[in-house]
Symmetry: C2
Subunit: 362 residues, 2 copies
Amino acid sequence: MKIRPEIILIAALLSLSSLQVRGQQQKSGKPLMIAEQGSFAVGGKVNLTQGVFDIKNALKADGQTFHGDHAYVFYQLPVKAHRYPLVFLHGAGQSKKTWETTPDGREGFQNIFLRRGFGVYLLDQPRRGEAGKSMVAATVTPTADEQFWFTQFRIGNYPDYFPGVQFPKDAASLEQFYRQMTPNTGAFDASIVSESVSALLDKIDGGILVAHSQGGGPGWLTGIKNDKVKAIVAFEPYSGFVFPEGELPSPIASTGLFGALKGTEISMEDFKKLTRMPIVIYYGDNIAASPTSVWNQDHWRSGLEMARLWVKAINKHGGDAQVVHLPEIGIKGNTHFPFADLNNLEVADVLSAWLKKKGLDR
Amino acid sequence: MKIRPEIILIAALLSLSSLQVRGQQQKSGKPLMIAEQGSFAVGGKVNLTQGVFDIKNALKADGQTFHGDHAYVFYQLPVKAHRYPLVFLHGAGQSKKTWETTPDGREGFQNIFLRRGFGVYLLDQPRRGEAGKSMVAATVTPTADEQFWFTQFRIGNYPDYFPGVQFPKDAASLEQFYRQMTPNTGAFDASIVSESVSALLDKIDGGILVAHSQGGGPGWLTGIKNDKVKAIVAFEPYSGFVFPEGELPSPIASTGLFGALKGTEISMEDFKKLTRMPIVIYYGDNIAASPTSVWNQDHWRSGLEMARLWVKAINKHGGDAQVVHLPEIGIKGNTHFPFADLNNLEVADVLSAWLKKKGLDR
């Protein structure tokens, strides 16, 4: 049989166009059905300067207020949402952007979990991003430190990528990654952060806290403050682990650039409040198994070890906590941002399975 | 005819429940059908510190980069979106929050125009909000000045609200309004802002720029830089009006706290680029008709007068620009934020009609 050239052309064009459509679908998926979305400030403090406001001297502070230290929250509720939404708290140097589009343009946990029926609340913590009004002053200085962060966040040992790392290797993605950092407009304060997260949980009457890195510490504090925290999910927490009086472990020495990792002692009464909700902690790959002079891998080794001690303490006192080191369940190559890595759908599946097991996906 | 009491009860319950449903719809409306949403950084610069990055001295700047002065963009494309999306640029002291939920919890222009079939791109301009990485240093100081802003933004002459003002009078709304401000992390620079907006318009291949207040100036600059600006909508622009060489008007004296208002002279060649797209400018209420010692009303009088001179210059050179002073078309009580005021749906209708007239809602 002889095939006419114009048929070959038409077939080729059809195949090309279906390819384009597929690429588009893969990018954006089915439409998101959003029942409600919006934003607000939550928590925070207010200072009133003594005196009486004089409209003729309106630039004088007398009688004027300053509101600050609130969180900014953007939320979306899908149609037929599960009972408890996910409340996302970013880590150091990040904003809510961290949960949105990934550096290489794929969907982050915001969209992925919307598609799975969860309401999502994305915070800019007090003194960060759109919640920039801080009750304390700060100086913001441009600092050339991005190759440090590349290394600290375990994309690799700059300029080398870790073999098999789940991070895109093109320049544009790395640029997006660097640009998604944003500075503090006031010193980080775990207590102030947790107050705003707690105020949010009161407002929405319960939720599942998903915290990243430095967000872990305020996460535990929020769990202590407020029984409306129905579960805590932490990706690569490092600092802020709290232990009951008399049970504080020794500091864990590390060649990491932040030195030895210490826990914090709190009352048994407060500690026991962390046994009220299930807790799961995830760590990615390229974390040393034992002390090493490779400082980034050793930094996270101390974090992972401390997390294991902490989970043990929680469970000893009747709680339900676990550490999942992703490589141990066959998920390899993750950086400090497993929820944004190339395999973030696989990581989301692991979290979905845990939420299901805990009855939190209904 | 005798009506049985249980029927009256059922009728009453039915009417109550339909009332509740109506109230809910008014709050959230029908579900938003979002074909695609996400976020990214756009524009910006990069500094590379001389030397070679040494992983053993990873906190030294040598060989390290700093990316900054980009904009942060959150976008949503509704199903069956019109050809050109709206690109929203906030004003001084604000972030993209300004276009989201209003201080009293109603839908802002983000949701309103999504519902009307427009894609929306919401920017945090360089050095603001989640685009906090600035190429220049800044000190952020908590400053008690909110009663000044209440007055400057024409909610009233603090503590008095203007009679009939389209701003909610409860304390919670005012608190939200104060908390939606967020500081600069580097000095405002209209040129840097317009570079990032222009980069966005290239990326999305055309859009309708909607700018507020201080965003007007970078708006005109973007229109000059990039013919992908298909229209400019400005709410209450004040500074940054550009005039062709030899046609700069005299400064407009004002008792406003920013003093006399000056235009900026640019080349005729550049100025004429602003005649390529339709431009509309809206101002709200309580702006003085003639010079007055009431400084807030006089500040905006100078802005409105300058805008009228500017529109005249644009049209004289073949452009299509107009000023709409909302009270003159019967829309009263608007503050500096007409798009968020109590009557923002009515204001949106005015804008929709203009977009339709210009063939930009297809």
